[in-house]
Amino acid sequence: MPFISEILKYGSLAIVGTEKNTGKTECLNYILSKLHSTDISVAVTSIGIDGESIDQVTGTAKPDITIFEDMIFVTSEKHYHTKGLTAEILDISAERTSLGRLVTARAKTAGKVLLSGPANTALLQKIIGQNAALGVDITIVDGALSRMSPASPSVAQAMILATGAAFSANIRQLVQKTKFVCKLVSLNHADKHAQTLLANIDNGLYCIDENGELHDLNIESAFMLTSTETEKTKYPCNCKTLFVAGVVSNKLLDFIRMQGNIDGFTLIAKDFTKIFITPEMYNLFLRKGGCIKVLHKTKLIAITVNPVSPQGYVLDSKILQYALGQNLDFPVYDLRQLQN
């Protein structure tokens, strides 16, 4: 059984997709059905309700998750009421999401539920912690849309990436785009010294000078730096190592590159989920001698593919898997084929 034994090494797992309809839910269902036969205590939840609201707009139904006996699930009040199984309520959160409070329950019979968990990573972290206190061995988080945030190492210890025809209907493009996501996931760790210096910083921009000393640039965010004239003057032109606690954007890369010689420049991001850049901009940045590193690295266990797009395109699964396998250093699976 591929990658299940790998999953069991971790206390939390996020399933994220490069796009909607790339098979996250199918992947979750596959994992749950496999874990069912083990004596591992499993909990499932999802991030947010974005998926829900979009689904209501496009009118496509959000797929059910099949939960097995004794598994724990965390979902909103609204979706708890529509569950198709018997479950014992273990806890109800004090926090509210737009679909109501979060109910943690243990399935007494197998059946289907709709998952709509915490909308933000902070609450998600808390829920994962609470699950561990309930004796859960692994909490699996179903991602929403193309959001990578639950895969942040601050939330989940490991991730599975779902990709497929919905991301691009052209195999070559799909491979290239997926490859780029994997490239970000595989960004190297910043050096030990920087890791110690930056461990407890949650916001702002910092520069590390040649002597390894940390300087707070007193700039709130990369967005402020690139959009406010007065903030730009705070940026030191000789900066060689820049740490951005928040989001790293195309605009920021552009700004840094334009400041001149970036040969040997290191940009440190918190983790890959904070990086929102295009391959073109990244490559330009690399070509000029810059590099991007991360403080925390994510463990990518496997990539799953869904050769069917919601518009009806069907890619050849074999060719797709082969092409991805050739280009990526991660195992690639088509779960539907595995199940058949």
Partner: protein, 462 residues
């Protein structure tokens, strides 16, 4: 203008809390999310017996808190309190014969078990008696495992147990018929449970409000103990404070490494005129008198080392709060409007505490002092307990006068930063009708423009 009001929520709406009451409420260490709502429902109490009972309860709690053997019990109680959620809405539904969902039944079960745990913990303390909820718990705990979890247990119905068993292991081919049947049985059981539970709705509600009360009581007792508040003795005629202080200002001064000077003050059913230099503590005194009265009559200890207090029906405060202009009124117009409200109250039988800061200060001194005199006369005749601060001369009304002592032992090291350590904030009986003349000197110490000071001094000489 601040009116005392029916409950704290209403008070919150009518004041911008420039006297520090809500500062103290926010500092209360309430454990349950339930208690904040309960706190804001507290009423302004004018009944002597009710207040005395509450103060005795706080006294009792403080002494229990001070007993080291009880530390463990109280920390366990607080831990339990922090798990209590406000299930008022659910209990309302129960009382109204609405069939509750599993989530609501879960809430009731969890609450009842926690309440029962608290009841056990309170056992030896003789502080609050909670109703016995064991019957309600057993309705929701048919398997007698006493866990704070809930579902429609198999133990409720043999038929349900059999049906569920038949579905075990089947996922894809679940018979819709059996699932519907299960739902029907569950619905029936839920209805039955609610009928059985309804008998205890009242007990559950009592437990809920008693637990909120317990949380508030503990928080009040801890605050009183930590902030060195005292138990007010309720008197019939006169109010008298020893070492009265304003906790918010005290905290602020302490954070700046400065000392706070408490004051002693006694008064009865008559008006008092307060004079004194700028920065002498007149306004703070008025605010602190309001604060202490509010605290007392909402059932709290008061910030003083000793307090003997007469109860009032209404506290009326008139202070510049910067809001007048937003209502399109000049300061003077707003003030006169407030005087109308106060004067309309003094002819009723109501017992008032009236606090007016610098009456008619925004108009000319000649007419301003006439207004102050006139108001004092009215208050004298009607025996109204009132404090008015002023900088005006020629207040000849036959009222009691207090003056804040003012500048003492000045040397050349005095400056705007340390001026407060050269001020004696204590109150002395005043016989003069003229106000102290220290404004220019204080302005000079505060570093006002030299030319301004020079010219002002010259003008005074003329």
């Amino acid at each position: 203008m601040t009116n005392n009001s029916y409950n704290i929520t209403a008070l919150r709406k009518s004041t911008n809390d420039n006297f520090g009451f809500f500062y103290l409420l926010n500092k209360l260490d309430l454990k349950s999310s339930l208690s904040k709502r309960y706190l804001y429902l507290q009423k302004f109490i004018t009944d002597k017996d009710e207040l005395e009972k509450e103060f005795n309860k706080i006294e009792e709690t403080i002494s229990l808190l001070k007993t080291p053997q009880n530390n463990k019990i109280f920390s366990d109680i607080e831990n339990k309190l922090s798990q209590v959620l406000d299930i008022g809405g659910t209990l309302q539904n129960l009382a109204n014969s609405i069939v509750l969902s599993d989530m609501e039944l879960f809430e009731i079960k969890k609450f009842a078990i926690i309440a029962d745990d608290i009841k056990q913990l309170l056992c030896g303390l003789n502080l609050i008696a909670l109703p016995d909820l064991s019957a309600a718990i057993s309705i929701l705990d048919p398997e007698k495992i006493r866990m704070t979890t809930f579902y429609i247990y198999d133990a409720y119905s043999a038929e349900l147990a059999v049906l569920r068993k038949s579905l075990k292991g089947k996922i894809e081919n679940q018979s819709i018929e059996s699932y519907q049947k299960i739902t029907e049985i569950e619905d029936r059981i839920r209805k039955q449970l609610c009928t059985e539970l309804q008998i205890y709705a009242c007990d559950l509600n009592t437990a809920l409000s008693k637990i909120a009360y317990l949380d508030l009581l503990l928080a009040k007792a801890k605050q009183a103990k930590d902030e060195h508040f005292c138990k007010p003795l309720i008197a019939d005629k006169n109010t008298s404070y020893k070492a009265l202080f304003n906790p918010q200002l005290k905290d602020l001064l302490h954070s700046q490494g400065k000392k706070y000077q408490p004051v002693d003050i006694s008064f009865g059913q008559y008006p008092t005129l307060i004079t004194g230099i700028n920065m002498g503590g007149k306004t703070v005194l008025l605010k602190t008198l309001a604060l202490a009265q509010y605290l007392c009559q909402y059932g709290f200890y008061v910030p003083a080392s000793e307090a003997e207090m007469t109860l009032v029906d209404k506290i009326m405060i008139c202070m510049e709060d910067g809001q007048n202009h937003l209502q399109g009124l000049s300061s003077f117009a707003a003030e006169m409007k407030n005087m109308n409200i106060i004067l309309s109250e003094i002819h009723t039988d109501k017992h008032l505490l009236v606090l007016i800061d610098e009456l008619a200060r925004t108009t000319n001194p000649a007419e301003g002092s006439a207004i102050v005199n006139a108001l004092l006369d009215i208050f004298c005749e009607n025996k109204v307990c009132c404090f008015i601060t002023t900088h005006y001369d020629k207040i000849t009304s036959d009222c009691r006068r207090l003056r804040t002592s003012g500048l003492i032992d000045m040397d050349e090291t005095i400056n705007e930063k340390n001026i407060d350590s050269f001020i004696d904030y204590s109150l002395v009986e005043e016989t003069e009708t003229n106000a102290p003349r220290e404004a220019i000197r204080i302005a000079e110490i505060l570093g006002a423009n030299e030319e301004l000071i020079k010219r002002a001094k010259n003008k005074m000489k003329k």
